[in-house]
């Protein structure tokens, strides 16, 4: 049941994977919230046609 999953999000400990601005991860980390920071770079080195193909191939 969909809403149960979202209630779980509100009830349980939030554990975050941060993809993007490192500042958001830092702020959470300073508050003692569990956060993993992803060192992200654009897929297919920025080639959007290739990135689109990849997203259809289920990475």
């Amino acid at each position: 049941m969909p809403s149960l999953e979202i209630e779980a999000l509100l009830d349980e400990e939030i554990i975050v994977i941060n993809i993007g601005l490192p500042m958001f991860a830092r702020n959470l980390d300073e508050l003692g919230i569990k956060v993993i920071e992803v060192d992200w770079s654009p897929p297919a080195s920025g080639d959007s046609e290739l990135a689109h193909l990849l997203s259809r191939l289920g990475t």
Partner: protein, 498 residues
């Protein structure tokens, strides 16, 4: 010039060949050294040394278990120096070890291996890539908060439909603020836990309302951002309805505030119907919308300030007295320029001005307000956080310098009598937006426009709201207790023209 070849042998001294090659490189780089090598005394290595013309008799006689240090330099002096340097390098533990430099995963996939219990992906990559990352996260069972804007409507619909099937919440795109279980995500303020829930299609709307509630001594259970387009016909309120279900079931939530800009009829009807089925009370603010038919458990307010008051159960307590604070604008001027980092704060200001009968234009106009550029009349309210300004640039809440050019422009516009600004603090915001604003405005003179501000945030925020207020006031900026009050103050100043 005859070169000097020197060899030194360390019996029984073993070091890995790569480590030796690195030391060799350092020696060869020394001034006056033509060639240098450290190698174990195997026949093959001795041949290499001989071929490089750096093998001397001592090296020739070395055994396979011995280390040969071989140098060819332009003088005996330089050769000796190189040998001394070799001894020093061999004594040192390995150079330049950053030692266990923290490993950061390069993908969501490997991040999940480090934290398999992760339940939320917070995505703030450039808009072109945000949807793909969000999809990956949903498929791995995570809820998603998409801070990124410039995500296409088609992608938003596709993501939210998939999220619906999977029972996961997508907050966003363009979701600047959320507070889940007391955890502030992206831009958010430090507010106490309490029994008022917030659902917002706007980040700064959530920030303003939650801050006003906090400053009145109450608290927030959860603040769920749904993104600016969730309540459109195309998206159909998918995330809003999920958020309503969740807060309806949440035992810590007694009352829910719903904030948005005006929305299409169909999604609004769905939302109001869902609200009507709840046993909890709701206060709604659709900035700039007409009055709608509400279920019995809901009320509608025109501004963020008023919806917060309804949630708090207060009415007109400690009402801000604009007349007491107002100052006359410089003579011969009659325009207000509003420069906002928060879209909802810009909208709220437009509402206050419109209701006071003022003519307003904006780059993000509410109903009944002209698009800027279509008319040269009236006051201008600019949302600097709008997509057109943020493509490839940081958000003005993160980087207040985005507003600087517009401020300088307004200061020099002889029709502008007052500048209206929001100062948004909290997590994710600049460390001292008030200080930055004051320094940008320091070329003001008596002839310059008045500057009127509000500070969205709390004293518990890293920037400490009362310190920010003090900074602004000591620079002669008029500070109102809320964004709506600041707009009202600007109008009061207009009327008292010198």
């Amino acid at each position: 010039m005859s070169a000097t070849i020197l060899n030194e042998v360390r019996p029984g001294f073993y070091l890995d060949s790569v480590a030796l090659m690195r030391v060799s490189r350092s020696l060869a780089d020394l001034e006056g050294v033509d060639e240098a090598a450290l190698m174990m005394g195997t026949p093959a290595n001795k041949q290499i040394l001989a071929d490089a013309n750096i093998l001397a008799i001592e090296g020739e006689e070395a055994g396979t278990g011995d280390l040969v240090i071989a140098v060819r330099a332009e003088s005996p002096n330089r050769a000796q120096f190189a040998l001394i340097e070799a001894r020093r390098l061999l004594q040192q533990p390995s150079a330049s070890g950053r030692g266990g430099a923290t490993w950061r995963p390069r993908s969501l996939r490997s991040a999940l291996e480090l934290a398999p219990a992760a339940n939320l992906a917070l995505i703030s990559v450039p808009g072109d890539f945000a949807a793909a990352e969000a999809r990956k996260a949903l498929r791995r069972g995570l809820h998603v908060m998409i801070f990124s804007d410039n995500v296409s409507l088609e992608e938003e619909i596709s993501l939210k439909e998939e999220a619906l099937e999977r029972g996961r919440l997508v907050m966003g795109p363009d979701c600047g603020t959320a507070i889940l279980g007391g955890v502030p995500l992206a831009f958010a303020n430090r507010v106490p836990r309490g029994d008022i829930g917030v659902i917002g299609a706007s980040g700064t709307g959530i920030q303003e309302v939650s801050s006003l509630i906090a400053r009145a001594g109450k608290g927030i259970s959860h603040a769920i951002g749904v993104g600016g387009r969730d309540l459109s016909n195309q998206v159909g309120a998918i995330s809003t309805l999920m958020a309503l279900d969740a807060l309806d079931q949440d035992p810590t939530t007694r009352h829910v505030v719903l904030i948005s800009k005006p929305v299409s009829t169909a999604p609004l009807k769905k939302v109001l119907k869902r609200i009507g089925r709840s046993g909890k009370t709701f206060s709604i603010c659709l900035l700039g919308a007409e009055r709608c038919d509400l279920p019995a458990n809901a009320t509608q307010s025109r501004t963020l300030k008023m919806v917060a008051q309804v949630a708090l159960g207060t009415t007109n307590k400690d009402e801000f007295d604009t007349q007491r604070v107002a100052r006359p604008i410089p003579s011969g001027r009659n325009r207000v320029r509003g420069l906002f980092s928060g879209g909802s704060l810009c909208a709220e200001a437009q509402i206050v001005f419109k209701e006071a009968g003022e003519v307003v234009a904006s780059n993000a106009p509410i109903n009944g307000v002209a698009l800027v550029g279509q008319t040269s009349e009236g006051h201008i309210m600019i949302d600097l956080g709008d997509d057109q300004y943020t493509r490839g640039r940081p958000h003005p809440i993160i980087d207040p310098s985005v507003r600087d050019i517009a401020l300088v422009d307004a200061l020099s516009d002889t029709r502008v009598g007052a500048i209206l600004v929001d100062v948004v603090i909290g997590y994710g915001a600049h460390e001292d937006p008030a200080g930055h604003l004051v320094s940008t405005l320091n070329q003001r003179s008596h002839q310059s426009p008045l500057v009127i501000a509000s500070v969205t945030g709390t004293d518990d925020d890293p920037q400490v709201r009362k310190d920010q207020v003090a900074t602004l006031e000591s620079a002669g900026i008029l500070v109102a207790p809320s964004n709506a009050d600041a707009a009202a103050l600007a109008i009061a100043c207009l009327c008292g023209e010198a």
